[in-house]
Amino acid sequence: MATLVRPMPRAAASTLPRPSGDTGIWSWITTIDHKRIGILYGATAFLLFLVGGIEALIMRLQLATPNGQVVDADTFNQLFTMHGTTMIFLVIMPLSVAFFNYVVPLQIGARDVAFPRMNALSYWIFLAGAIFINLGWLIGQAPDAGWFGYANLTEKPYAMGLNTDFWLLGLQILGIASILGSLNFFVTIVNLRAPGMRMMRMPVFCWMTMVTNILMLLAFPVITVALTLLLFDRFFGTHFYVPEGGGDPQLWVHLFWVFGHPEVYILILPAMGIVSQVLPTFSRKPLFGTPFVIYSGIAIAFLSFGVWAHHMFAQGLGPTADSAFALSTMAIAVPTGVKIFNWIGTMYKGHLHFTTPMLFSIGFIFLFIIGGLSGVMHASPPADLQQNNTYFIVAHFHYVLFGGAIMGLFSGIYYWYPKVIGRVMDETLGKWHFWLNMIAMNLTFFPMHWTGLDGMPRRIYTYPEGMGWDAYNMADTIGAFLIAASVLIFIYNAVHSMRHGRVAGNDPWDGRTLEWSIPSPPPHYNFVEIPTVHAMDDWWHTKYGAAGHEGATAPIPAPPAMAGGSVDVHEHGHEEHHEVHIHMPDPSYFPIVVAIGMFIAALGMITNFWVCLPGVLIMMAGIYAWSFEPVNAPAPPGSAEVHHAPTTPTPQTPVAAH
């Protein structure tokens, strides 16, 4: 348990003073608390969601009418490239990671992730990559080759500007953050589960987190290789994707989608995990067929590496390959369908409470069904030849990623906001957000099915009159602005509820999993006492006892006091404390130092190679200093400054720390 080790006896290695303090900007910059990092991830991703949304709104203005004059062709191409890149890599993924960070350690009964400093490093590298990839806007050279950047359009002489360099270096940086994060969460889930939490007792959100992180760990190296080859082509004159030099642009397409299809599931599985927590809570029933849901998640992950060429049915791979990938693609629809049926089964015979998170989860199912079924339509390769690269595809993946992932993530925000903030978001505003979002979302994306079938390709900055697309496009644009309005409601609600929301208490939803057993917001160390787990949905069973088991409908007994729930804890207590110490690792400067070095090195790649030198040196210095930094600053013997001690030991407290 890396998070619980004792201070190192020899502390001479680090001569810098350790950061200290619990408030102020430096406490956030140096934090290695998984909850704070989760908040940082969430806030950053949400800001970028607004950026990506504004990009979408400008595009919708341009396309509202034929021959739109709002932006020129090059700007439009940058907008759709950055909209896709932003929403995928800078919004849905990090927003999911925000939930991994905040929720997973709480759900598995851990005090932090396995590698807290590496966790901070992931965030700072992610932020560096997010800033880097958007730098192009400042000089009018944002990436402009589409989010899947097909070679050889990304090669010289077709892409002479810095656009593609910002894109490929930015994605490389983001990839490092993703791989670090995926290692961290995999190890956390495997090693840091509370006693008694066997894998099959683990909450489904944690399961989906683990599956997602395995996918990231396996898929990101592929895009890293693909981008490295592109980098060599662009910077050092190799010919991996350059046809004139004997290279093959199609190699990029294969590599990209070997990454890209698992990526699709990286985007959706966390939202599926959230829905799998929210539905049982507000149905007041366990998730129907939990093992089926878990196994189907694993099956999806496994199959997701064998379906990439369904993005390439128009590439002319030949009938045998097309048939094989059609079959594998149809196969992956089965476990996806199973999940939907199990979610409906969860609500069947439940007592449904239509709170905002519940509505968003139901909305997720409703929209994901549509997106899933249109997906099956282009699993048939000949049919896909009419749908590939049209607005039909745009409709499909927005149903899956907006209707699916984003709705699921909103569900998660409303669900766990009380845990993070300590207050519940306003339900009336939440319902306004939900219904406006639901109507606007369908108004925006449903007509795209028809424009697609009517032959409108995606990624066109203009279209002539007389194609029959005008009314649909106008509807899309109106819908997009209504979505924006619904997001404004959400923002107001989130900000307003921070001060004025109903006080949450530990367990505002009568939840099922361990995070609801501790205060909201949780203390720095999460659990005073690491709980011992006896069942799936252990907290529910703790509250309801035998009634929580199969078939029972006994009345509610009063929930017992839980460790951490009512115990008065002094963060810096000097009171006598019965040898009860919870050692948490100290904050560290070095993660952000390493990330800054990486950012400068990347800047050097596109400005002057000599600039790489200080960047790499800063990075190396950061890694070196980090390596010799003890987990805890050396404290004078007897001091409890860095410890967190309950003033009174809880009755049944065999403390994990000592």
């Binding site: 007041r284 089926f292 089965v334 069947y348 239509f354 699993a379 006994a554």
Partner: protein, 342 residues
Amino acid sequence: MRKLSNYAALSRRALLPVAAIMAAALLAGCDVTGPQTTIAPLSEFADDIQFLLKLTFWAAVGVGVIVEAVLIWVVLHYKSRATDPAIPPQIHGNTPVEIIWTIIPAVLLMIVAFFTIPIIFKTQAPAPADALQVRVVGHQWWWEFQYPGLGITTANEVHMPVGKTVAFDLESADVMHSFWLPRLGGKRDVIPNHVNRLWWTPQEIGTTPGQCAQFCGTSHANMRMIAVVQSQADFDKWVADQKAPPANPSGGEAADGKAVFSRSACIGCHTIEGVSQGTVGPNLTHVGSREILASGILKNTPQDMAAWLHDPPGEKPGSLMPNLHLSDNDVNALVAYLESLK
């Protein structure tokens, strides 16, 4: 928690407008018969695709309606009530049910696959040997059509005789494109260093538009084309016209235009038989006979032609044809000359 159940009534009322909007959206979909529609096939290849589209569409609509109806019924029927016992029966699962609902979608998908696979092999079989061969070359941002057996090179307009199989070899001069004439068949990507193939037999006389479907740079949106399906007689006449030597004006504005063409940068990129041999831009030997200019963003009228010659990148952003800053007189002369190349 009890209080929350009040919201169920709100939700029930609000579901109806959503259902109404969805129904309206479905009905609105009846009108997708624009000129570039994918659902009005004009060839046997497009017919086969249409069959699969209908199969998968109605399967998806059927499954979708049933599952959404069940979802909505469950949501409305099991909303919590004040009279509920404290907690509902804690049902953890039902293995036979779960197996059944794993098998049902699998069977439905097998049915789709059963009809899909033969059509994949049928439509990707080698083209009949007597097919009319057309070599398609994708350029940023226009289409070149060569008829190797007929010795014709043209641009942005592909002519085909009705009822005769046409086999396309698809190649790229620069980056990836995608050749797509929706009413005649599915798209096929055009990839540098690959030769992709596509064939179909047009069944109706008429003109139908298409455009590049793979993002290929600045003016991807402007990389359009038309397909002209003609009677055999009309096609033969078109072939004869295209094979004839170009008009050679001996006087007047057209002759001036030829002189301007010959002394300007035009000859570096464009071929007019007997005048120039450039291959970067479209072959202009019979440009006057075409319906469209600049890969379909302009009509082939003197006004549009003049606008194009004055400022190609202004008409088509990123156009590789630069603004040559031609004088009005030169442009008028060029228009007269080029329009004479019937």
